[in-house]
Symmetry: C2
Subunit: 363 residues, 2 copies
Amino acid sequence: MKRSQNSIDSSTPPKIDIRNVAARARVSIATVSRTINHVPTVDPVLAARVWKAVTELNYFPNTQARALVSGKSKLLGLIVSEITNPFFPELIQEFEQVAVAHGYEILIGSTNYETSTMELCARRMLERKVDGVAIMTFGIEDFLLDRFAVDNIPVVFIDPAPTRPLSNVLAVDYYAGIYEGVQHLAVLGHRKIGFISGPLRLRSAESRKATFLGCLHSAGLKAEPAWLIEGDHTLDGGRDAMQKILALPKHPTAIMCSNDMTAIGVQHALFEAKLKVPDDFSLIGFDDIHLAEYTIPPLTTIRMSCKDLANKAVDNLLSRLKPAGAKLEAVSKINTRLIVRQTTGLPKDALLDLIDKPRPKTR
Amino acid sequence: MKRSQNSIDSSTPPKIDIRNVAARARVSIATVSRTINHVPTVDPVLAARVWKAVTELNYFPNTQARALVSGKSKLLGLIVSEITNPFFPELIQEFEQVAVAHGYEILIGSTNYETSTMELCARRMLERKVDGVAIMTFGIEDFLLDRFAVDNIPVVFIDPAPTRPLSNVLAVDYYAGIYEGVQHLAVLGHRKIGFISGPLRLRSAESRKATFLGCLHSAGLKAEPAWLIEGDHTLDGGRDAMQKILALPKHPTAIMCSNDMTAIGVQHALFEAKLKVPDDFSLIGFDDIHLAEYTIPPLTTIRMSCKDLANKAVDNLLSRLKPAGAKLEAVSKINTRLIVRQTTGLPKDALLDLIDKPRPKTR
DNA sequence: CTGAAAGCGCTAACAA
DNA sequence: TTGTTAGCGCTTTCAG
């Protein structure tokens, strides 16, 4: 009672294809193709018969065949650094949602910050003939980019990258958010601020660090090289970096991190060292992942909207896919801004300092 | 200096295909096919010429065409509940790693706990002609399962599911871990234990709750219905559920959660209510995501190895793909066990109770 | 061991 | 408007 007229023994797969549908609907396969592709010139009577057959047979068109003949895979590649960093799943979810809404699937690649893995990812994208790729991680080798160009595949980057014929970039305005962060700390009275970066090979990590240094300067503060630690954007990396800082003879009073996971690692290191946030150290993250609201205490951080990022990336790709709208600016701007929560406060030595000179009062 | 003899204007895509390679290597396309597929009977001299041409042309075979003719897409589907729950990225990463090692790609579907989305996911898998599917979320509709069966696509589930011809299941031994957890709490002196479940439509959430109730009974404790709250496996859900419990006239002294994200939400609710963990409430999570080690304080939780899960799922699928090893047991067991960290301690009323009767001393 | 040729399931001319 | 037909790029018989 479960299967219609198909053979019971599983050695004969039924193979429901366009021909079956055509036969059952008593039309040609071309008519079936037109019907399911919503070509408007199909006789409603025939169309009805086709849809009936499609339903009865539970027919799905074969994507492979479709892609082969049309040259479009309806696949969008999305290359991220590390899928286990919660920022990326949030981005992926958004990206997928937008893509699916436009009839595209996504193919995810996670490079784990390794060049060789990145190469593999790019290659897989090429092999699967994606119609476009969003690269949300560090720089890609030029020859891979060339290959995408040869196949006429639009590419979009998240960061300053070699500007190329078919490569557009999503420029993140790191400055706005980081400036707010540094100012916030400065106003609270912090003068000694450390920074835990991401892997410096990542262009985005580089940019964040450089921007931090610039903002520090604008605030009239000096950077202490010993407080500039290279992390790796992971929990473990954040913890290790903070432990290095704690081992130093002189400590900063505040730490900015290149991403939220690093900041959570720092919080943990501080917890282990029986130090309090923000009483002993103020802390600012970057990204504003959903979790940031839930840390104890909740993390002050710089928000970079992954919704925005995903939307702009997909938009950029799709608009370049339709020959008409090929003209859009090569650079979209992504904003950042400070979200103040509870990991920032007066510096530990604020009271001592008050003896010498006045300070801005607590917020 | 970048492109060889291809036309400069981008309106003519070069189209590097098997024929180009054949021509350049002065062999037939069949020989090219054999060479790149490592068929051993190819003359080494010809093979060398082919590889040379492949390299020079930077040729990749077209996966679509390959899939079309061979009937194998070399794609494995992976359907999860919610990609933003860190457990799943960890699982995905593992799954992908194993799959790629065997020459497969993965196609990810995230259902967000919605039946309609699940249907879409399943359909996408069908359309892309995946060679196998791992369903790591709640029950799937029977008719979809039928469809997979019709196409002869092996399916593997994470939980008790309708046993079907081509459907195997990965049975998680919830009991072992949850029993340890309840015992741990009981030994500490907790008698009033609440439970925040996942969405009860999820079979896995159901199982965890039922198992908890069973273990409570084994420990000689009684369940208080008011302390059994349905959450949704998210941070927000955990926070909300805990707030409900706090609003009750009588509180439990310990809370078990259906997953770690829920527990982190609970920690946050407690933090907001100025309550301490484990002084005011003991807390146990489930999954043991990497983050569990980093919460403040670090979360006591029940580990379910996603490495194990991913490996067994892929193994199961792949072994059923090669006609030879079609015979493996239909059920693999996944273990769970308690990881004690710092969110569990003596119940708040321990001292009062001690006046009446002796208690096990602190660990 | 190699090459010619027949499709895989579908779309897109082109005819009718 | 509908049907016929020629491929899309590749694997895989089947002869040679």
